[in-house]
């Protein structure tokens, strides 16, 4: 469903992704990990079409992403920072994204789930960071997309909403969707991820399940396993 071939991207002299090849055929939760500057965000942005690769091809659901932007109808994206135009209201924003996408959406259950009803007529500029992040989650999950890209999804969320978000992610997984997550919170990764994709210096250094990673590094928890990957 996602096929990445010989992907290469550099910014000036700095090579961020070097010959990255990756095939994700099965639904599930894939955690993309790696030290700062290892190319995680760049990789996700290339998938989204925000960063244009120097070389290589990406197919999402058989569609070449450099050819048309229609493939993004099948892509949900939860950005790290939730910032919207200050002067439009929450419900206007939701309508706008639905209007732009032109695909059916179900925002109401999510608005109820995160208790956003009192905020629907409030301007986005007046909302707190956490509330904006909840709006962000609604925008991502209200469409039935086959791929979900979540960049640090837990930033700014309170524990109750965090649990709800985890349930949403688990539901999406049950529906056979591909979910790509980056996070610095190892507990979350341990709890959710089916597979770990570890990037180092623009290449895939390790790909496999959590148990495989622990066996390989002979460590008991993910944090130490990652640390020992970096040392070796």
């Amino acid at each position: 469903m996602i096929a990445v071939k010989n992907l290469r991207k550099s910014f000036g002299k700095l090579t961020v992704l070097e010959d990255l090849t990756l095939d994700l055929n099965q639904g599930g939760i894939y955690a993309i990990l790696g030290p700062n500057g290892s190319g995680k965000t760049t990789f996700l942005k290339v998938l989204l079409g925000m960063v244009l690769p120097d070389k290589g091809t990406i197919h999402i659901d058989q569609a070449d992403i450099s050819k048309s932007n229609d493939y993004r109808k099948n892509l949900g994206y939860l950005p790290q920072i939730a910032r919207f135009p200050d002067n439009i209201t929450v419900s206007e924003l939701i309508d706008m994204i639905i209007d732009i996408r032109q695909v059916p959406a179900k925002p109401e259950p999510l608005v109820d789930l995160f208790g956003l009803n009192p905020f629907l007529d409030k301007k986005l500029g007046n909302l707190s960071g956490g509330t904006r992040q909840k709006v962000n989650i609604v925008l991502t999950f209200m469409f039935d997309t086959s791929v979900l890209i979540l960049d640090e999804p837990t930033a700014g969320l309170d524990p109750v909403s965090l649990i709800k978000l985890k349930e949403l992610i688990a539901d999406a997984r049950k529906q056979g969707k591909i979910i790509l997550i980056t996070s610095h919170i190892m507990n979350l990764v341990e709890e959710l991820a089916d597979q770990i994709i570890f990037l180092l210096e623009g290449e895939i250094y390790f790909q496999g399940s959590l148990t495989e990673l622990k066996e390989k590094t002979k460590e008991k928890d993910l944090e130490h396993a990652i640390a020992s990957l970096l040392k070796s």
Partner: protein, 260 residues
């Protein structure tokens, strides 16, 4: 594109800065008209303000909106819409809302004063047209600067510098050049120089329309001599249009190859 335009326009029309801008023009229009009690004098005073002020406001609004909406633009980029639609839509949203503030802000006082009964109606519309042109030009230039500079401080600096150069420094340099090379025939050079500055060009355009040769100055007089009033007007409007089309084209081209 229309959808993006619709939302960025409605976002900006509700921003307090649009209102401040609108109220400023309302007050300016009323004060000038009712203190002067003379429409043509008010129009000349307004012209001197508008050719400097609309570029400044367009520049500041354009660059501020570009940087402020960066994260939102990223969210839009992740939607199934093309980049040119996103940027063209946002550009039109800013330029239209600013032009609307200008037209309403100055239109209302002049309407109340009775511009339609006056012979100055065409001069007044010329003023609004050139103000709108300058807004569209400088918003395009500042968004272009934003696209080329991911560093906010740098982009802001360049944008203000661009305004300062075109509004103030350009004329000064031209004047110094004229004085230094006064022994040579400079007519054509001066004429060509005005094409490269939309602010100068709008000033000449309004003055040609107002037909006040005393205010035309050196380049303006040349302009009138070479083109005659009618042809001069059409030429300057055409060049102003190029000043919009070229930066917007560059903006769309850059947006297609940029990494966000």
């Amino acid at each position: 594109m229309i959808k993006i335009l619709k939302y960025s326009f409605s976002d900006l029309m509700r921003s307090k800065w649009s209102y401040i801008y609108l109220i400023f023009y309302l007050i300016l229009g009323f004060v000038l008209l009712f203190l002067n009690n003379d429409v043509s004098k008010a129009i000349i005073t307004l012209m001197n303000l508008i050719v400097v002020l609309t570029p400044l406001i367009g520049t500041i609004f354009g660059i501020m909106y570009y940087y402020n909406s960066r994260e939102f633009t990223e969210l839009l980029l992740a939607q199934p819409v093309s980049r040119s639609k996103i940027f063209f839509g946002q550009y039109l949203g800013i330029a239209l809302s600013l032009s609307l503030s200008l037209v309403i802000g100055l239109g209302v006082p002049f309407l109340i004063y009775g511009i339609f009964q006056s012979t100055e109606i065409f001069n007044f519309s010329m003023l609004l047209v050139s103000g709108a042109f300058l807004t569209f030009i400088f918003v395009a230039l500042s968004v272009l600067i934003g696209l080329y500079n991911s560093n906010k401080i740098k982009g802001f600096g360049y944008a203000i510098l661009m305004w300062l150069f075109l509004a103030v420094i350009y004329d000064g340099v031209l004047l110094i050049a004229m004085v230094m090379f006064r022994d040579y025939p400079l007519d054509n050079l001066a004429l060509a120089a005005s094409f490269f500055n939309p602010i100068d060009l709008s000033r000449i355009m309004i003055l040609l329309k107002l037909d006040i040769s005393a205010l035309l100055g050196y380049t303006g007089a040349l302009f009138q001599k070479f083109f005659g009033t009618g042809a001069g007007l059409v030429t300057s409007l055409f060049i102003l249009l190029l000043w919009i089309v070229i930066p917007v084209g560059m903006m769309l081209k850059k947006s297609k190859s940029k990494d966000f």
